[in-house]
Symmetry: C3
Subunit: 343 residues, 3 copies
Amino acid sequence: MKTNPGRFFEDYRIGEVIIHAVPRTVSGGERAMYHALYPARGALYSSDEFARASGLPAAPMDDLVAFHVVFGKTVPDISLNAVANLGYAEGRWLAPVWPGDTLRSESTVIGLKENSNGKSGNVYVRTKGINQHGQVVLEYVRWVMVRKNRMDAPAPEAVVPDLQKVVPAADLVIPKGLDFTAYDFSLAGEPHRWGDYAVGEKIDHVDGVTVEEAEHMVATRLWQNTAKVHFDATFREDGKRLIYGGHVISMARALSFNGLANAQMIVALNAGAHANPCHSGDTIKAWSEVLDRAETTAPGVGAIRLRLVAVKQGAEPFALKGADGKYLPEVLLDLDYWALMPM
Amino acid sequence: MKTNPGRFFEDYRIGEVIIHAVPRTVSGGERAMYHALYPARGALYSSDEFARASGLPAAPMDDLVAFHVVFGKTVPDISLNAVANLGYAEGRWLAPVWPGDTLRSESTVIGLKENSNGKSGNVYVRTKGINQHGQVVLEYVRWVMVRKNRMDAPAPEAVVPDLQKVVPAADLVIPKGLDFTAYDFSLAGEPHRWGDYAVGEKIDHVDGVTVEEAEHMVATRLWQNTAKVHFDATFREDGKRLIYGGHVISMARALSFNGLANAQMIVALNAGAHANPCHSGDTIKAWSEVLDRAETTAPGVGAIRLRLVAVKQGAEPFALKGADGKYLPEVLLDLDYWALMPM
Amino acid sequence: MKTNPGRFFEDYRIGEVIIHAVPRTVSGGERAMYHALYPARGALYSSDEFARASGLPAAPMDDLVAFHVVFGKTVPDISLNAVANLGYAEGRWLAPVWPGDTLRSESTVIGLKENSNGKSGNVYVRTKGINQHGQVVLEYVRWVMVRKNRMDAPAPEAVVPDLQKVVPAADLVIPKGLDFTAYDFSLAGEPHRWGDYAVGEKIDHVDGVTVEEAEHMVATRLWQNTAKVHFDATFREDGKRLIYGGHVISMARALSFNGLANAQMIVALNAGAHANPCHSGDTIKAWSEVLDRAETTAPGVGAIRLRLVAVKQGAEPFALKGADGKYLPEVLLDLDYWALMPM
């Protein structure tokens, strides 16, 4: 059998390092595709001149381009036989990715816990994205529920990693040279600065995008994510293709420009849940809540911790969870991240 | 309220200069996207070698890429609350845009006239696209009908700018170095030169393209045009997304290659009307009429003034207006422009 | 009549050389589009670093990007009035195409044979793709059945070229410098090397992609292929757009990564048949058969001859032909090619 059957729960070992295929060189082509797939308008990622005025040598690749490229490579080894993508933690962007950079990914298995039914288990991996200089540009922890193949395989000793609920502000890595003291709010699109956002404030981002099959497949392939459920309408009984959760992340993040235009760079992913599946024809909208604020050592640069919630048509304003504590059916995504903003 | 409500009629002042967000660096990525979205085949924009043989340092970005990038930035400030896009005038391409250039846009309010119903008014703006050297690469006048928000806001003094019906041939700006004396008609795709076109001649461009939701949204986002009507199927009662008028312009212009392959560069936009809305599933076709011809000072380069009409399925040959002087329902676009052609 | 009516059977002459419009400069933009349209994951085309470790200066453009760019240019001159695309032979990739290269195409008429019904005939052309240095990067023979326009045009003397059934292994051109002795199988995605494949072995590539109108039109335009049947839903009575056969080739080749990840570069096209039409909504899957193997003079580089078959939903495993010797209705493509693989 030459094709990849994917790994099953019993195939993972604590401490194992998995080298993921396939390395990828990114260019202005990937940037243009990203800006065509999502209404991304962050000035720092849109304009070399704006980036230079902010102390960077040029506009880096969008923060989520880095995430998707690194994540996509892990799919054949981590989530091909996954039942569910359970969570993210301790995600940090450690260095900008530039056009021309080549990224590869590797993951270390840091946790394993078989479910009581004996048919599946949770796998925790810490994934690193590494550029051509050997520099880690991004790291995050993800855990997924993976099916067992041999039901009689013995349960491994349960190891559940102790993960930070939130990346501490002191651990955020600010891109070298970043300086927002000469920030041009007119060119950036909104006047609101770090100090204008209060903890607990909620923002309805107003705009919506109805998503299409062609778009999410183009996006998902761009990141070389090969999971069958996103591409093959004959794979599921209902004939529906499931939209890659990262497509919803990028769509919601781009929609949040309207109200958070100056939340320029994502530097940490504290947590994330794909609350409900998204399908072609759904209209994605988004709202945010300010969870925290922190100063940084970079000139004029503040950090803001945000909850980003993606919802679909029919959602009430600021919809999140029901009385039972479960996500409402119209909620697609609940993401907790740190971004950098001019003070 | 942190999101952008857009401007209403009473928010504009004569002489006011509006700096539009977000600056944009363009690359070979945007070019590839443009050529994948439209059947664009103009040799000057397709081949660095052809451009060099025509006296340019390399292939510039397509003329309409420059237009869309500049136009898209104006939407959040000019047309978010527009009822109708009424017209264009005095458009001129002043310098080529090259891969790597960063464009920003600014608009000056040059006209205001409240409608007699007191509920809306016409806003006239002159928009400039400016590159990273501070050079104006494109300018045009656009006027839109915009809703009032406060019905009791007093009507401003009516100012209606005196606009040229047609950009005079003497005012056309020819890209520096352009020389068509060694023009290769075989590589360009057609043998017809400037002298082969007679004023009054009409050309049916024959080919048609049935348009899809995914395509027009990808295109519209690429230009960072954020108007809700293009993206959100829940926004209108009929559940239909309206296709950005610029998508129709680019589609018709690209289709006009078949019969006008040598009308290489658009250098002026004299007038334009989006006659009827276009929706996904419509099949766009195009025809052109030669309106005028003029010589230029550049070697081997003639100017040709063309009417470009986009129609949809069901249109009669050369359909334009009915006996009542109104556009026929199958007519989508009526555009009047100057292009450069080998003599 | 200024538009291109295309050529009819009686318009071709043996020995005639046709210069095709429009030359095209390719960049990282075309590469990103290609990787977004197809689940292409070949490491050599995905990563500059992987290509350098394989002795090349950087990642070349995908082999099939070169094919599509060269092929697309021939459509207005060769197949606009074609009834059927009958076959390919003697295809060879002679030099890599790099970002920044400009390609043009020319074809020589090498065969003509009128059909006995007097209404059409077969045209054989040898097409060359040529870069800006005048170097031939790709050549192949294609033959198509073309309609006659004037039924009374005399039949030309029948000339049917003597074509090789298979490009001999000794005639394969290996890119200068290619060296697989330090090949990294982990980064490439699979452990299987040249010696692991046996002649006669069949591989079901498992994955499937349901194709959409927007995707195949974007792809087909990217190659400046203008055939009406791909774009205009009003052109055919059934309202269906026909998917460009090259879209199926690229989709199947990309799907074959799963099982043939190390079949890195296509260097020859021995034969090919578009067995049945493909439409939007079809789910494309693929299987391969190992037809032959050969050593090469390049260090660590073996050649493998593969049959690549694309099928659609409903196909039995390894479906190809029925008892009558005809392709089964679910078979879309039967392609015979040579690829290079690490030994």
